[in-house]
Amino acid sequence: MYRTYAPMVLRRCRFLLKDEAEALDIMQDVFIRILARKDALDLSSPSSLLWNSATRLCLNRIRDKARRGISTSTDECLSQIADMKDERDEYEAENALFRLFEGEPASSRTMAVLHFVDGMTLEETARETGLSVSGVRKRLRALQAKLKGLEVEI
C-alpha cells in the first residue's frame, strides 16, 4: 500500500503545505491513522480516503500555524479555507486521533479544497464526500460568504 499510495499522498501534502518536512510528517500521519483503523476500513480503493485525509490534516496544520503567528507559503485561498470555522472542528479537536475514518461526513473545509482548489465538480465532490450534490452545494454556499472571490459552481 505504501509503495502504491505514498507518492500520491506526499505530493498532495507538498502541494498544500509547501514544506518537505511537514509534508512527510503529515503523510506518515495519514498512513498511521489508516493502519490503526485498517480492520474497520474498506481499503480496496483507498485513493479518495487518503486524498481527503491528507487534505484535512494539512488544513489543520496550516490553520494551527497561522494561529501561532507562523508564516506559511500557502496561497491565500488555502489560508482562508484553513482558517474557516467548521462545524466539524470541535468534534475533531476532541476526537482527533481515531475517529477520522469512522464514516463521518467530510468537513466543509475539505469540501472547499476539493471544489475550489482541486477543481472537482459538485458531482465529483459529492461522490468523494458521500453527500448529495445539493448537500454539497448548500454547504459550499454557506462557506462562500467567508471566501472572498470564490464562486460555487451552479
Binding site: Y2, R3, T4, Y5, A6, P7, M8, L10, R11, R12, L24, Q28, F31, I32, L35, A36, S45, P46, S47, S48, W51, R61, D64, K65, R67, R68, G69, I70, L97, D118, G119, M120
Partner: protein, 250 residues
Amino acid sequence: MIPDWKLERYLTGDLSAAEAADIRAKAKEDDVLRARIEELRRSSAEILSKYPAEEIVPEMLEKTERRKGFGKRVYIPLLAAAVLLVVLLPLGAPEISSLWKSHADVTVQNYSEDGTRIKGLEPRFEIWRKTADSAERLGQKSVARAGDELQIRYAVPEKCFGMIFSLDGRGVITYHLSLQDRAVALAPGKMTALHFAYKLDDAPYFEKFFFVISASAFKVEKGDIDSLLKNKTVRVESLTLRKVSVEGEK
C-alpha cells in the same frame, strides 16, 4: 484538462475501467497529458527512492503500535481502578466515601515526565532551542538571537484553560497556544510540546513568554494583555529571553 487528482488515481489504479481507458486513449493523442503522466511516474520513483518503504513503513508501524499501546496502558488500568474505587470505597471506608457527597474541588492529578503520577507538581512550561544536532533548554535571561528556532512545552496538574503568548521588544504579541485571543482547554498529564517550533524574528532587546492558566475559560480583551496578567483568577508563569543581534553579542 484532466485534473491532477484524477491522474493520481489513474496511476494508483483506482479509476473505473472506463475512466482509465478514456485517459489512456487521450494520452495517445495528447503530448502534454502524456508528459504529465510521465512526470508523475518519475516523481513517484523519486519519492520511493528518497523515502523507501523499507525505512518508512517500520517507523510507521512502530508509531501505530505505540498509539495502540498507549490506549491500553492508560485507559484500561484507569477504568479498572475507577471501578474498584466505586465498588469498594463505600464498604471499606464509610467516612471517606462520604466525601462523594461533598462539593470540594476535584483532586489534582499530577504526572511525572513519563506519565506516572506524582505529587506537588505545578503548572510549568519550558522553552527549548534547536541546535545543530540536538536541543538545549533555555532559562530565565538566556541569550537568544534572531533566527533561533524554539520549541515550547507545557504541563498542567489538572484540567484548566490556558494560553501561551510572547511579547517582543517591539511590543508585538505572538500567540503560540490559543484559539485566536481565547484560552484553550488543557488536559493534565506529561509535558506536551506545541505542534510547531517558533522562529525568533529580529525584534530587539527581549522576547518574554507567558504561560497563563485559569480554572475557567478566559480571553484577551481587545488585546489588553496587562489586564489579563493582573486578573486575580489567572496564574501566570513567564520566561524572558535576552535578544542580542546576530552581528555582535551584547
